[in-house]
């Protein structure tokens, strides 16, 4: 396979800033890689680590979390909660054997379409360099493979 690995990335965006930044990038015809699938939340503070774990365990290679710059949260300080969850989650992921770099937090205001597009490009390259995650829970074959191995052991 000589084809370049194209990572699957889930991006969580905040309704008040980064989602609008992405919108703005679109209307301004600024290109960013199609690897990222954006999901809108009302706030980065809505980001439950469950979402990230669900994405990674379901086949994503990376997760991008975006929110308003510190001090600019629409709900006063929920983006700080996102920051703390992100820092805590990275430690947990490292212990599980997942490169913490697969999850990234980026601040982008509604006016920063260019910046968001650039950051998405950078992150896609970073995850591409890390390679596929292919977390076993996302592979339909995992159970079959396991069963096969058991048969081999038993034989």
């Amino acid at each position: 396979m000589s084809e370049q690995f194209e990572p699957v990335i889930i991006g969580f965006t905040c309704n008040w800033c980064s989602y609008r930044a992405a919108d703005m990038a679109g209307t301004a015809r600024i290109k960013y890689p199609p690897n990222v699938r954006l999901i809108r939340l009302m706030c980065s503070g809505r980001l439950d680590p469950t979402f990230v774990l669900k994405a990674l365990s379901g086949g994503a290679d990376g997760v991008l979390i975006t929110g308003c710059h510190p001090g600019e949260c629409h709900y006063l300080e929920q983006n700080y909660k996102a920051l703390r969850r992100y820092l805590l989650l990275r430690r947990t992921l490292a212990q599980m054997g997942i490169e913490p770099e697969r999850v990234k937090l980026v601040w982008a205001s509604a006016a920063e379409g260019v910046r968001l597009a650039r950051e998405i490009g950078v992150f896609v390259d970073e995850v591409r360099d890390l390679g596929p995650l292919r977390w076993p829970t996302s592979l339909p074959a995992v159970h079959a493979e396991e069963a096969k191995m058991m048969e081999e052991v038993a034989a």
Partner: protein
Amino acid sequence: MSDNGKPKFAMYWAASCGGCEIAVLNINEKILDVDANFEVVFWPVAMDAKYKDVEAMPDKSITLTLFNGGIRNEENEHLARLLRQKSQILVAFGSCATEGCIPGLANLSSTEQIFAAAYDSVSTVNPDGVRPEYAYDIPEGELYIPAFYPVLKTLDQVVDVDYYMPGCPPESHQIAAVVDLVIKALHGEAELPPKGATIGAGMSTVCDECGRKRHVKKVKKFVRIHEVEEIDPELCLLEQGILCNGPATREGCGALCPSAGAACIGCYGPAQGALDYGARLMTALASVIDSNDPEEIDSILDGIVDPVGSFYRFSLPHSLLRAAKPAWTNGSR
């Protein structure tokens, strides 16, 4: 129904410690109700029975089976499938069967690491470095021991489960209440909860049951319980910087540990509606850290020395990731 007309009861232990069986016996005189209302057909820890006896039973002939323990090896899975086939109601009983529990922490390590700890560590006398083989030829024939699985699974990852009963072990008064309910249901005096329900526990969190005083939480430093000079007997433990799993853990135990001055470690599993126990706990803990500065937050987080061990002590195999990379890599070699 058996010859004496009583419904049949079974209890089995897979990868577990035996504490669940003790908890069942701890229901005291209620155990006589179990005997009066059920015929115990299979319960390896309490009575002699052979697997072939179970295999000979008609399908669905056991009314109630309490299955405790995780699925660690081939034998565990065989019995899980067998008892599913023979039982009308199969209950994942205790933390191991529902979530994997302490044996499930082995999902952080590869099989080789686990075997090294079991057969080569300082507490083991094994000068020749012997490792068990699954199949071994002897003059009389072939000896076979059940194969060890690279990743420990919960009961519902192997078979269909009717009810979940959390706890390490489930509290005896909760077991007694469930026994009462099943007996009533058998007599048509009560209805069983919908399939898939968690029984013998509440819906909310341990914090809701905890009698300690709570205020707005602001944690500047996490400490381990032995590092605290004097624990305030009335104040919320988390407010004292002690990592307490109460905010994520299902109620049902009566907040036994926090009342005794020890932090909740989460044996009753995730509160109703939480998909991933550790994620729920991370959400809660990140919210109470009193800092907005990334460097300071990091130094506060240094106080949580073992994140996975703290957040997934009882629930790793049932979490979204289920096992760490070394265990998986080993599994798909």
